[in-house]
């Protein structure tokens, strides 16, 4: 079936199978490999993309449900190659180790700060609860987020 959606600001039309997940389409049809598959069942958040602005685990969304919607992947955060504010803060804080979870982290973190620019520590932890980092980089993620939320050095 034919799917039309806006991906990182560009209108795209392509053929998908109804049984494809949005993650498969993003990675394998659009060749945008920032969103990752880890658990494949919505628990780890490594496949997070913005769907109409909201962080969404793309491994749980069937491709036809993306019809007519706006998708932003991590590649869409910095289209000109310059890092966005969240990415720059993560880099400065060293808020990752292997980097596998980082696309999901920055997508989710950016949506939180858009809605709550001064989110409290507890709110940040709640919002990021859906993204797992097996390296355990949470402390430095929190350091980056505290700075972005206007606290700390």
């Amino acid at each position: 079936m034919r799917l039309t959606a806006t991906v990182n600001g560009r209108a795209r039309t392509f053929e998908v199978e109804a049984r494809s997940t949005l993650l498969e389409v993003i990675r394998e049809s659009l060749l945008l490999t920032g969103a990752k598959e880890a658990c494949g069942v919505g628990e780890c958040g490594n496949c997070m993309v913005l769907l109409d602005g909201e962080p969404t685990p793309s491994c749980l969304v069937l491709a036809p449900d993306a019809e007519g919607r706006e998708i932003v992947t991590v590649e869409g955060l910095a289209p000109e190659g310059a890092l966005d504010e969240v990415q720059a803060a993560f880099l400065e804080a060293g808020a990752f180790q292997c980097g596998f979870c980082t696309p999901g982290m920055v997508i989710t973190a950016g949506a939180l700060l858009r809605d709550q620019p001064n989110a409290a520590a507890g709110e940040i932890k709640q919002a990021l609860a859906g993204v797992l980092c097996r390296c355990g980089s949470y402390t430095k993620v929190m350091k980056a987020m505290e700075k972005l939320a206007g606290r700390g050095a």
Partner: protein, 295 residues
């Protein structure tokens, strides 16, 4: 990548069309709402539907509105919308509490109230508060529309009274009586929701004009094959002062009513102990809210 097996996919634009596809499809047909259970079960192979009917193109199945005598919640309303709704907070505090601790924020953006009921998980976060609030589901089927209490729908793990061609279209939550307060609490492996409940408890308490408990409803999750109404615990409260003694008696009765299994999340004996502790805590919250409502 975990790929899904092939199935015949449908996006009907009316309830009638959806029911027609389901009725023709028989036992191999499944409804797709938020996908947070169905897609997972299809990936793990627990479910192998031959027909998937996506409900999201049918207009009018999502949203929360004030109606005569209560609020009506469309079956496709996401859990995140319940959590953020002032109407839900005001009319069904236990439901708002439960919505806020169901899985993680991105999952709450996908998961729907109708899907949560239809999935009939023994650990359901939304079942207990809906039963406490005496919620009524509207169900559309080949013979038309009917209403059933949410409580009556649960049969066992993953099983409801609904036939394969039945679709929950909305949930009605009646306006609580004067002096009513409700709350929901859940314990999982981590704080702040995220995990499937080891035990969840919803309670609703109605205080009479004399300050005594006129009525109470207590429903537990993850301690029985379905959400469990603790009727002996409710009776232990009726007519009594909302005292610590009454709360303790109800908590003991609620724990005694549990018939949990042991699984990877918790042993049966731990669940029974948690059920008592959580029932006492949630009753204190519900009583405090009932006192607020009585002012």
């Amino acid at each position: 990548m975990k790929r899904l097996r092939e199935f015949s996919y449908h996006e009907p634009e009316s309830l009638e069309a959806a029911i027609g596809i389901l009725a023709a499809g028989g036992d191999g047909a499944r409804l797709l709402a938020g996908g947070t259970d169905l897609v997972v079960d299809m990936k793990t192979g627990r479910m192998r539907p031959s027909i998937v009917v996506n409900l999201k193109r049918i207009p009018g199945l999502s949203g929360i509105e004030a109606v005569e005598g209560g609020i009506r919640i469309g079956a496709l309303t996401p859990v995140a919308t319940l959590q953020a709704s002032p109407l839900v907070g005001q009319m069904a505090a236990a439901l708002a509490d439960a919505a806020a601790v169901l899985a993680t924020p991105p999952v709450r953006g996908l998961a729907t109230i109708g899907g949560n009921i239809g999935r009939a998980s023994p650990a359901s976060d939304l079942g207990p508060p809906l039963i406490v609030h005496e919620a009524i589901a509207t169900i559309e089927g080949p013979d038309g529309s009917r209403e059933e209490t949410v409580e009556s729908l649960y049969v066992g793990p993953g099983a409801t009274t609904l036939a394969v061609h039945d679709i929950i279209t909305s949930i009605f939550v009646p306006t609580p009586a004067a002096g009513f307060g409700s709350a929901h609490l859940k314990i999982g492996a981590r704080a702040g929701g995220t995990d499937i409940a080891m035990v969840g408890v919803s309670a609703g308490v109605t205080l009479g004009a004399d300050g005594r408990i006129a009525a109470a409803r207590i429903v537990l999750a993850s301690v029985a094959p379905t959400p469990l109404r603790a009727i002996a615990a409710e009776q232990a409260l009726a007519g009594r002062e909302p005292s610590e003694e009454a709360v303790a008696a109800a908590a003991a009765a609620a724990a005694a009513a549990c018939r949990p299994i042991s699984d990877l999340r918790a042993s049966a004996s731990h669940r029974v102990a948690l059920a008592g502790v959580l029932t006492a805590r949630v009753l204190r919250s519900a009583i405090a809210r009932a006192r607020e409502a009585s002012r």
